[in-house]
Symmetry: C2
Subunit: 222 residues, 2 copies
């Protein structure tokens, strides 16, 4: 039973990979830089995006967001206040976004009007890991309140990260967060990942994160 | 493809339900009260258990723990310091525990020597929801740092909770946690669930949680 399930899961993944390849081509042709944001529930993905989008808009960079959750439009409503195009993908019981959902929800958007597309995945450190969404960059968030050893406990998702953003640094002291232990845990599963310490609340590290985005975007355009 | 996947998933679930039924019978015959602990990664399951087990041991109640993670024996090592029997279940890429794993890891334990068995599930607010492990009580943790709207965003897991434990209350002020909003979010998906506000760090609410456990345990024995 379990092996048949795995086999069919492989079929689903390879179909997803094909669709993601098509998406990547479309994004590339439209000159869009695409970020797939992954994290536990409540790691601060939406708060990070609210702050990020506000800064990018001020800098004249056009963004859009697709945001996934099992239920509610809460995050889309929060993000829509930034004024950029936002769509909520409600997945029902599915614990990740898939390339097919991205393709479907992109409909109606003029891709030429987007510089950076953020995909806020369903809050989950396991399921979204194997699903390519056609992104250029995978960014995994680790909040200081989650504990330093999460990368070692969830190696698949952290090992595929291009960038690990440590979030909620404003709570680091209250949560007795051990930065050295966290960095060592990240590096043990993802030796090449970039790592930034951030707080959307007090702005720490946000300049470095914005610089990462604009540099990656420029590199793609070049 | 997706429908064939769902169909096979249903087969897996019904096989799991059968095994869970058998486990529930074994637990009942041995007079064990079983708690399935579910939460996001880093919501404080292990810290809660460390404190809980220490108090229960002092009260002469014999406990044991099965703890699930994709990788590492970190949690089992932490919990083993309490001196009670503990086994780590490493699930690899599987985002939940299954009844078959519980049955397998129980081997070698004298069930008559256990009053309360804690099963610390894999940190995930989606996958573990549909897998019955033969437990008597489902306890879902929501940490104050995760945001008040998580119950509405992850309805399946919260709607099946017998008890929702709000954890890390010591961080409530720093995280600007809105208790009223959280209670309303929990009640909207799980009107009958008991709710307790706790902090394993400063001990808040721990007496009520221990009373819940001992009362449930006594009810089962009666």
């Amino acid at each position: 039973m379990q092996s048949r399930l795995l086999e069919i899961h492989q079929d689903v993944l390879s179909k997803n990979d094909q669709l993601a390849k098509g998406l990547r081509k479309r994004f590339s042709e439209a000159g869009i830089f695409v970020v797939n944001l992954l994290a536990s529930p409540g790691a601060g993905k939406t708060a990070l995006l609210e702050s990020t989008i506000t800064s990018l808009t001020q800098a004249g960079i056009k963004t859009a967001v697709l945001v996934g959750d099992l239920a509610t439009e809460n995050d889309a409503k929060r993000l829509a206040r930034t004024g950029v195009p936002v769509k909520q993908i409600e997945t029902g019981s599915i614990c990740h976004l898939e390339a097919e959902m991205i393709a479907r929800y992109l409909e109606g958007w003029d891709l030429d009007q987007i510089d950076i597309l953020f995909i806020e995945n369903v809050g989950n450190l396991v399921c979204p890991s194997s699903y390519d969404l056609g992104e250029d960059s995978r960014v995994v968030l680790l909040s200081v309140t989650e504990g330093e050893d999460k990368p070692q406990k969830y190696p698949p998702i952290f090992s595929r990260a291009d960038l690990v953003l440590i979030t909620k640094m404003d709570l680091a002291e209250a949560a007795e967060f051990d930065v050295t232990a966290a960095l060592s845990s990240i590096k043990s599963v993802s030796p090449k990942a970039n790592i930034l310490k951030t707080s959307a609340k007090n702005g720490a590290g946000m300049d470095a994160w914005l610089a990462f985005l604009t540099k990656q975007k420029a590199n793609k355009a070049a």
